[in-house]
Symmetry: C2
Subunit: 297 residues, 2 copies
């Protein structure tokens, strides 16, 4: 792949994958797409993609495979049970942009290595908007040489940072999700206090923008709390799944993370109370209910 643009197999063209594949097509890469439900891959033909009927078919002529799938099992299934690893020529690279646990990413790296294939774990943050605009934060783990070689492939999708060895991209994504969850809880607790104290949550959010409390979460999820728009977005179920992965990782590393534990508890209670499919910013609803109950005591 020294001269020509490498053929890319893009496996998993869901909410995030489709706009990411579209960015690659827009940048002139030849892309073959595949999705388990082929109806989600088909529209990319209009953007110039070849649409494959199986993951193995998609991978056959590719030198780069990108996976953007739901979880670690789905990634393992596609790579090792549907012929992708066997279809690739030695020297090809698998870039897994799904969010999966760090040890699972490291295991995939090892198994692909046995096929003579390189592996990069490169999950993203920035949502569908970032995927469409090509402004995703891409957190990469793996060998620096492999990652550097693919700089041109990452560029149309977002901003790439090499965080460390295999699994570090997934570790960074967990850290990202941990910060997101805790920041949401921080803003929800502040909003609750402002409202109870007679101030306006909307004016509060406006007031503190530009100060030290400014954040992307204040901008986006703070606005959701103000307008009480809790359609996901990112569901509380997914947020709890991420927090459980963070705390499992912390436990493996022998770490105690007090605020992460506290926010996990809040999300677990919210979900036990029916909030699982509510946007994670809906943690405000849980805090409101918790405090209504406390007052009832």
């Amino acid at each position: 792949m020294a001269d020509a643009r490498p053929r890319i197999a893009f496996l998993g063209t869901g909410l995030m994958g489709a706009p990411m594949a579209r960015r690659l097509l827009g940048a002139g890469f030849p892309v073959t797409v595949w999705n388990r439900d082929v109806a989600k891959a088909q529209p990319l033909a209009a953007d110039g993609a070849e649409v494959a009927q199986s993951a193995g078919d998609a991978a056959r002529d590719a030198s780069v495979v990108i996976t953007m799938l739901t979880n670690g099992d789905a990634v393992a299934q596609v790579l090792f049970a549907s012929g992708v690893a066997e279809a690739l020529e030695p020297g090809a690279v698998v870039v897994d942009m799904s969010s999966i646990p760090p040890p699972v990413a490291r295991e995939h790296s090892k198994r692909l290595g046995q096929h003579g294939l390189a592996h990069i774990d490169a999950p993203v943050s920035g949502g569908v908007v970032g995927a469409q605009a090509g402004t995703l934060a891409i957190m990469a783990g793996g060998e620096a040489a492999d990652i550097d070689e693919l700089a041109a492939v990452f560029a149309p999708m977002g901003r790439l940072t090499h965080v460390g060895p295999s699994g570090s991209g997934q570790l960074a994504k967990l850290g990202n999700q941990q910060i997101v969850a805790i920041t949401i809880a921080a803003i929800a607790e502040a909003m609750l206090m402002i409202e109870a104290g007679g101030g306006s949550p909307e004016a509060f959010r406006n007031a503190i923008r530009g100060g030290f409390a400014e954040s992307r979460i204040l901008e986006l999820h703070g606005q959701r709390m103000v307008s009480r728009d809790f359609k996901p977005g990112g569901s509380s179920n997914n947020q709890l799944k991420d927090l459980n992965a963070v705390l499992a990782t912390a436990e493996n590393l022998g770490l105690t993370l007090p605020l992460t534990e506290a926010v996990r508890e809040e999300f677990a209670e919210f979900i036990a109370d029916g909030g699982g499919e509510v946007d994670h910013s809906g943690l405000l609803l849980h805090l409101e209910k918790l405090n209504a109950r406390e007052k009832g005591k």
Copy 2:
């Protein structure tokens, strides 16, 4: 004060007050400055300020008094025990930009009202850099008419938002500090996990910028954690003082705020362990020590 620029008495020209007064002088307002330690007021003479020997003297010809003092006691002392309230003509306005508890601000408002004086509580966020640049987030509580009338006075110092009735500015400032403290803890816990897991905290911080975890705290305090520069800045003692004020306010309002309680506990332990004069981003040191102890068990 309908036509001419009102004379402003600026009381308290410390780290924040001095650059704020300088912004007002630069915008062409006549300003008389006073500071308990007059040596801190004197340099403003070079910027065109009159320097008064007492707070009462400073207030005598002013139609707007701005206070920027250490705490509620200092504000009460200056307003009510050193002749400021008596020196002002009815119709003058006192703008307290200090950070003090909301009930204390409301009490000052009432007492000033008995003198025929208006009161606005208008604490700020953005630090010395924001004070110098005139980009502070100014959170105002009080009557809309009073606040609107002073729009031109606030403009050189930063961006003004009216949050609600008397005390709401202070309430918003507490909410701001609460978000700051919890976000610091979130980033510290994530950094701890990244480092323990073999990733680079510096690369992690770079990687997640531009994603959903982006914040001013990640930019500033995250950088402090990466470069392990914990000279304050904002001390952990001050952060704990703010968190205690938040939780006292919450208690008065009958609210339970789980993450705020968790982060207060961490700061209290850090300070008990000698961290009081360390920057609040130094909470990372506490988490590192806590986890070293846990492993030693």
